[in-house]
């Protein structure tokens, strides 16, 4: 066994690093570094740069316009992007609906949608969760009734991330109310301009507008916008959930956040000494460092398994549970590190273009991010659900 990257992989890392140094606009880098919210334009600007480089669709095969990277390269790319404070690629198009369209979609769908994703023409959002269902995804009740060559869709979706910017939504709907739970679900693509679709913001406790409710009121969706067969929606959804989850631990972000934390806690002073030397604080940083080391090797084990042809299964639950806990712990320590300076809240600074005294600007996002990171253990199947999955699928309980 060895844990070192091959010379080719190291050269690739250098290449990514050079690209990021050259191509990432400093305004964007600074915005991400300070934890300010990105505007739609900011996302598009960066994704166009990636697209021009051919690196937007990191996990697409070459035949569809991807760079043909394996899991190790994708891992390196993610890690370097996080280290460079590059904006995260909005995943709903390129990483989520695209693989489903490649796997289950018709040739027409592939030819129409994939290029539009690659060149950022479409902004996709996800219509999965519903107000009544929570982590019980298959309990969804949005109905789609066939009416000639259209489905008429009625219902409500929620937690639709960045839906306010999207012009397309992929959506799970119930096409057969009599089939048992998972069997009656289909996978539809909707144009957000269709009459009957209303997007209403959900403001989260960090003051951000990141998620939305989407109301569907007699929305007419052409039958050709269904991906796969009727009733095959759950298969598409499961494929998407289990498909490619090596990035799920968010390790690149955790590493960057821990570096930032250590630097911050070295600068902050407690009675004339760096906060990082205060035993109770230092101990928690040391524990986070250890957890990160372990998680990094676990992540590499999963990546190596994927590279060697394995399908990551319940390990991704493990990575999600421990990864989200670690990122939450780091966000907690970062907020604490700021001391009283974590108290003031400047939503205009985080959301807009205003400037702020450097004294506050450097830490302005810390408290908001702490609260924002609470979502990591809730969304995509709450950690309690992940544990039940592991109990069931790995331990046979």
């Amino acid at each position: 066994m060895n844990l070192t990257f091959s010379p080719e992989e190291q050269a690739f890392r250098e290449e990514v690093r050079r690209f990021l140094a050259d191509a990432l606009p400093s305004e964007l880098r600074e915005r991400v570094r300070l934890g300010r919210h990105l505007r739609a334009d900011d996302h598009i600007r960066w994704q166009n740069i990636l697209s021009d480089q051919g690196w937007l669709a990191a996990n697409w095969p070459v035949e569809h316009g991807g760079p043909g990277w394996g899991p190790v390269q994708r891992h390196i790319f993610d890690e370097e992007c996080a280290a460079a404070h590059a904006p995260t690629v909005v995943p709903f198009g390129v990483n989520m609906v695209a693989p489903v369209i490649m796997k289950f979609g018709s040739v027409e769908q592939q030819q129409h949608y994939l290029p539009r994703i690659l060149n950022n023409q479409d902004w996709w959002c996800q219509g999965y969760s519903e107000p009544g269902a929570g982590s019980d995804l298959a309990g969804l009740s949005t109905r789609a009734v066939l009416d000639g060559d259209h489905y008429i869709v009625n219902g409500q979706k929620t937690w639709t991330t960045l839906g306010q910017h999207a012009n397309m939504m992929f959506c799970l709907v119930r096409t057969d109310p009599n089939a048992k739970k998972q069997a009656g679900i289909s996978f539809l693509l909707m144009d957000m301009q269709t009459p009957g679709i209303t997007v209403r913001p959900i403001i989260t406790l960090d003051g951000a507008h990141e998620v939305n409710e989407v109301f569907l009121d007699n929305v007419r969706v052409p039958v050709e916008n269904r991906v796969g067969e009727e009733g095959q929606g759950w298969t598409c959804a499961k494929f998407l959930l289990t498909h490619e989850r090596t990035g799920i631990a968010g390790l690149g972000h955790a590493k960057q956040a821990l570096r930032h934390l250590k630097s911050l806690a070295s600068r902050m002073q407690h009675r004339g000494k760096p906060l990082l030397s205060l035993p109770s604080f230092r101990q928690r940083v040391v524990k986070a460092e250890l957890e990160l080391m372990a998680l990094e090797v676990t992540n590499l084990r999963v990546i190596a398994a994927a590279r060697d042809g394995g399908v990551p299964g319940a390990e991704s639950s493990l990575l999600k549970v421990r990864g989200s806990e670690l990122r939450q712990e780091i966000s907690e320590l970062t907020r604490r590190a700021l001391g009283p300076a974590a108290l003031p809240f400047f939503p205009e600074f985080l959301q807009g273009d205003e400037s702020l005294d450097d004294e506050y600007a450097q830490g302005a996002a810390a408290s908001a991010q702490y609260f924002n990171r609470r979502k990591l253990s809730i969304y995509g199947g709450a950690n309690e659900i992940q544990k039940s999955i592991v109990a069931k699928t790995i331990l046979g309980m």
Partner: protein, 372 residues
């Protein structure tokens, strides 16, 4: 050894509980936050009528002579409703410092109207460079031409924007710590106000060659009095947190009973039951610590500060645990502004940043560990 409330205390508790339930519903609270009253709010006037503004002060300074338990009862009730009034930061702490330091003329000028609800004050003890340490500050005061001159900056001063005057600590040339009363609009003073993450009004105060008449100096050696006021403030914050924890637990329990998943109420899932029990264990243990803090205020300073540091550190950790679990058990709902428990969670997390966090207080406990 007695944990029972007196008849008067029980009455106070009931009155306040009813008041908060009636007049600080989520909607009313939102309205208060969105359009803060100019001058004394109706609720503040009710506080005055109920004697709350007189309660924490000794009888010889015109108060009702309430003790730590009385303050605990009040703060706990305010915490239950997350009441957006600066009872602690605008009244109790600055008022108590005046009561301990000021001469009768100063008390007449600043303390009496405070107790009558005619104005509020603020206490500016905190500076970023000193973190949570009230004594290692760098704001300077010196006498020149028969006046005091102040230079420096005070950070995250609670209730700053609504204060008729701010009590400002400063290093004196003697090496001691002094405290000055700085009326609003004094020349050389600039305010930057904002709200905290948990929606409380605060601000930074810059003092640029601020000239003050000699009588604005309240004390040229305020250390002991300031320590006493900080102890009181910390005990009061613990009590407030208990109130907020109670509501956060109640709301979470209600949500678990009402909300269904996989066809069953969440309250029937054993792992969630045990988590809810853990929240209650944290609450009850923290309540014990808040009681310990409230009943330690009259002890000798060393013992008082040791126990209150322990209580503040303990409640800080519990408050965060309960906040995080309340969010988690509410699922996505707990992440939204619309969900009332999210506001409790914000306060319970940010609690730790007021008057010293648990690292700061654990350090105090740790320093005295062997002696304990």
């Amino acid at each position: 050894m007695d944990f029972a409330l007196t008849d008067e205390q029980r009455m106070l508790e009931e009155t306040l509980t009813r008041l908060v339930a009636d007049q600080v519903t989520p909607e009313q609270r939102r309205a208060m936050l969105e359009a803060p009253a100019q001058g004394a709010s109706p609720l503040w006037r009710t506080f005055a009528e109920l004697g709350l503004l007189h309660m924490p002060f000794s009888e010889d300074t015109g108060g009702l002579g309430g003790d730590g338990t009385d303050v605990m009862i009040i703060m706990q009730a305010l915490g239950r409703g997350l009441v957006p009034e600066a009872y602690l930061f605008g009244l109790v702490m600055p008022g108590q410092l005046l009561a301990l330091c000021a001469n009768s003329a100063q008390q007449e000028r600043w303390l009496d109207p405070l107790l009558e609800g005619e104005h509020q004050l603020a206490l500016a003890w905190q500076e970023h460079t000193a973190r949570y340490d009230a004594f290692g500050i760098s704001t300077q005061a010196s006498q020149q031409d028969g006046q005091w001159q102040l230079n420096g900056r005070k950070d995250v001063v609670m209730n700053l924007g609504s204060a008729a005057a701010t009590l400002v600590t400063a290093q004196l040339p003697t090496g001691k710590l002094g405290v000055f009363i700085v009326p609003a609009n004094t020349q050389g003073v600039t305010l930057q106000t904002y709200r905290t993450m948990d929606e409380q009004p605060a601000g930074d105060l810059t003092l640029n060659s601020v000239a003050l008449p000699l009588e604005n100096c309240l004390s040229e050696d305020v250390s002991d009095a300031l320590a006493e006021v900080l102890a009181l403030g910390r005990a009061a914050l613990c009590a407030e947190a208990i109130g907020a924890m109670e509501t956060a637990c109640d709301q979470t329990l209600a949500y678990l009973k009402e909300r269904k998943q996989f066809g069953l109420p969440l309250a029937t899932f054993q792992s969630l039951q045990h988590r809810m029990v853990d929240m209650h264990l944290h609450l009850e243990q923290s309540r014990s610590m808040a009681i310990l803090a409230a009943t330690s205020l009259s002890l000798p300073a060393d013992e008082r500060d040791y126990k209150i540091a322990a209580a503040k550190a303990y409640c800080g950790e519990s408050a965060r645990f309960i906040a995080e679990q309340a969010i988690q058990l509410h699922g996505g709902m707990g992440m939204t502004e619309e969900c009332y428990v999210a506001h409790y969670a914000k306060h319970l997390v940010m609690f730790d940043h007021y008057l010293g966090d648990s690292d700061y207080h654990l350090e105090t406990v740790s320093e005295q560990l062997d002696a304990a």
